[in-house]
């Protein structure tokens, strides 16, 4: 077994947004979008980040790319030496961003309609002084064929492409600088089923041929199971379970994971009606409950859950869960 090489280490990441009130814009509270999330991503791995809206998965992804600056915590990126992304200066960030790129959810709003594919995909190459003129065009040609687009279409504008093809343009743009890490934020959720499969296969093939590492943000659990090696489950800004994908789906150790797996409608009419339906709603991250964030909706909650925040504990090798009863609860798999 090859020793796993850590590429990215996120620890105690926090991002708070102040809420201001009154004429003096007095700070009245904080939206705790991400509230102490820790996980690591190994070289060549696909780590899935799952959770419902408002759980902080997109904020986490954006902090990792320093698209936004986190309130506290560290993000170590190992590229030769370990560097803290949160403490990088302008020049260091420029270097870092050659190694860490993003693919967006919406293939319509993420491409500038007034730029041709050549300009969109080639922009990063040009700005970073990697290639100019003929060499730039050649490189864009290679990138386009890598993602299954016809290189002769490089002078066309985004409107001339379908949703799936636009997503391919976004992928080519992310690949342009040969990054090590790609943060893919819901890369397939705006696409139709038949197109979604094409994009997943493409991302998977690129990973194999280019040795990429993905942080895959998604809410579709079947995509996560198909594609990722490890999973981080988020709930209201906190990680409630971090585990190997197979183990998570076979033996979840946090009641929220159990409910999430069970809530997904399965494409099998024989399994109808056999699921856990949670009451209540995802709490507002500005006014999250005390103790375990999940306790108001948790079917197993006890007195202690109301007052004490459960620590993240290793329940088995490389499988972490933050639940007071993760050792004793018998939870259902998918």
């Amino acid at each position: 077994m090859v020793e796993k090489q850590v590429l990215l280490e996120v620890s105690e990441l926090r991002k708070y947004y102040p809420i201001s009130r009154g004429i003096f814009r007095r700070v009245a509270g904080y939206v705790k979008a991400v509230d102490g999330v820790s996980f690591s991503v190994n070289q060549g791995e696909v780590v899935g980040l799952i959770g419902e809206s408002g759980c902080g998965k997109t904020t986490t992804g954006r902090c990792i790319l320093r698209a936004i600056t986190p309130t506290s915590g560290s993000i170590l990126f190992h590229n030769g030496k370990a560097q803290d992304v949160t403490a990088m200066n302008r020049d260091e960030l420029r270097d870092y961003r050659r190694n860490a790129q993003m693919i967006f959810q919406d293939p319509y709003s993420s491409l500038n309609p007034r730029m041709s594919v050549l300009e969109i995909v080639g922009e990063a190459l040009y700005v970073n002084g990697v290639a100019r003129g003929r060499a730039l065009e050649d490189r864009v040609r290679v990138l386009m064929s890598q993602v299954g687009l016809k290189p002769e279409h490089m002078r066309r504008f985004p409107h001339a492409f379908s949703g799936g093809q636009r997503q391919r343009i976004g992928i080519a743009r992310a690949l342009a600088l040969e990054p090590k890490l790609i943060v893919a934020d819901e890369p397939t959720s705006a696409l139709d089923v038949s197109i979604q499969a094409q994009i997943i296969n493409l991302l998977q093939n690129l990973q194999k041929t280019l040795g990429l590492t993905y942080l895959l943000i998604a809410h579709d659990l079947s995509v996560i199971r198909h594609f990722s090696n490890r999973v981080v489950v988020l709930y209201v800004g906190q990680a409630c379970e971090v585990s190997d994908t197979e183990e998570l789906f076979r033996a979840p150790r946090h009641p929220y994971t159990e409910a999430l797996l069970s809530a997904v409608p399965k494409p099998d009419p024989k399994r109808r009606g056999n699921r856990i339906v949670l009451g209540g709603e995802v709490p507002d991250p500005a006014a999250a409950p005390l103790g375990c964030k999940f306790h108001p909706r948790c079917p197993y909650s006890q007195e202690v859950c109301r007052t004490e925040l459960p620590p993240m504990i290793e329940v088995s090798e490389d499988h972490f869960a933050s639940c007071h009863f993760s050792e004793t609860l018998k939870l259902r798999a998918v």
Partner: protein
């Protein structure tokens, strides 16, 4: 046969809807036939642009017109005892007859509850509107009824919520309020167009549970439009698969999931990753894209993407509708061969 007929609530026969635009004509719905049974759920599945929403809009006669027009076929809504029927397709879309049906006999819930509520009226006023209109309730009585409708869909503190505006409710609550509005006059058919697409998984589970519970209580039929195979498997008794304006396959939910017949249905089934097991194989993809809406096909619209296409045959003439097993119909040449010999 009569027994079977008596179970039918709504029957669309060879429905055709065109959109006549400057750029050309979009044949949004092509000879679609389907049946909604009393008290049962029909799941309509397909990708974007397959005509599923237009079919639903035709049933309520709310297809934007111009440019949309029903150019053929009928939509029969049967009365309680199953003899008399109204052809919705032939009614005047602004007339009294269809307005008697909308909201009372058939009502609809939408994907994005925020855009289908009026932002400047309270939730209670919007729910009560149909009651005042169809049932001639006084406004006080309509308000009381709205409160109990909100309570029935599981909204906490309904007497307070009834006076709030839609923006004050969360996404899940808004969808519940919309269901309350749609069900205020106890319709016989509820059309749900992607009812949970905008919601989170755990909230989606709540809404599906609620719809099923209300269906049991009210005995209403449902037409659920979705692109999510899981929702269809979970909710529907019968399924219709749409592609490019055609109903390519129609059957009972078990038939469709266990033995899908149309190559498109089979491709769709293989294209979704499984949540139950990890497989190392690649996902099956359907080559190419959904055709441009202006395209015209002499033959089968799925021909270019079909893994089992028969060049001469499928390209030249439209595929026949074949009933392969009782109640399981498919629009494909592959089965014509089998049926004939």
């Amino acid at each position: 046969m009569d027994q079977q007929k008596a179970n039918v609530l709504l029957e669309a026969k060879d429905l055709k809807v065109d959109f006549i635009l400057d750029e050309g004509t979009v044949r949004a719905v092509n000879n679609v036939s389907l049946t909604v049974k009393r008290g049962k759920t029909l799941g309509m599945i397909g990708e974007s642009g397959c005509g599923k929403s237009v079919t639903a809009q035709s049933i309520l006669r709310v297809v934007p017109s111009p440019p949309g027009r029903i150019v053929g076929g009928s939509i029969l809504l049967y009365a309680m005892n199953g003899d008399a029927s109204v052809d919705i397709a032939s009614l005047d879309p602004k007339g009294k007859a269809i307005r008697e049906i909308r909201g009372r006999e058939i009502s609809m819930i939408f994907q994005e509850p925020m855009t289908s509520f009026s932002p400047v009226h309270t939730v209670g006023n919007q729910i009560g509107e149909a009651l005042i209109l169809h049932r001639r309730f006084s406004s006080e009585k309509a308000r009381q009824e709205s409160i109990s409708a909100l309570a029935r869909v599981g909204i906490p503190k309904p007497e307070q919520r009834v006076d709030e505006y839609p923006y004050q409710l969360s996404g899940g609550m808004r969808q519940r309020a919309m269901i309350a509005m749609a069900l205020s006059c106890s319709p016989r058919l509820l059309i749900a167009d992607e009812p949970t697409t905008a919601l989170d998984v755990t909230i989606q589970a709540q809404i599906l549970e609620l719809l099923r519970k209300l269906q049991d209580e009210e005995g209403m039929a449902m037409l659920i439009i979705t692109h999510n195979l899981g929702i269809v498997a979970e909710m529907a008794e019968d399924v219709v698969v749409m592609y490019f304006g055609y109903a390519v396959e129609y059957g009972d939910v078990n038939q469709i999931f266990e033995a899908p017949l149309h190559p498109y249905t089979r491709c769709l089934w293989d294209a979704i990753p499984s949540i139950d097991k990890k497989s190392d194989r690649e996902l099956t993809t359907i080559k190419g894209n959904v055709p441009d809406p202006f395209s015209e096909f002499a033959g089968c619209p799925f021909f270019e993407r079909c893994p089992e296409a028969m060049p001469e045959r499928c390209e030249l003439s439209p595929p026949p509708l074949v009933e392969v097993v009782a109640g399981h119909r498919v629009r494909c040449f592959l089965y014509e061969v089998k049926a004939n010999g």
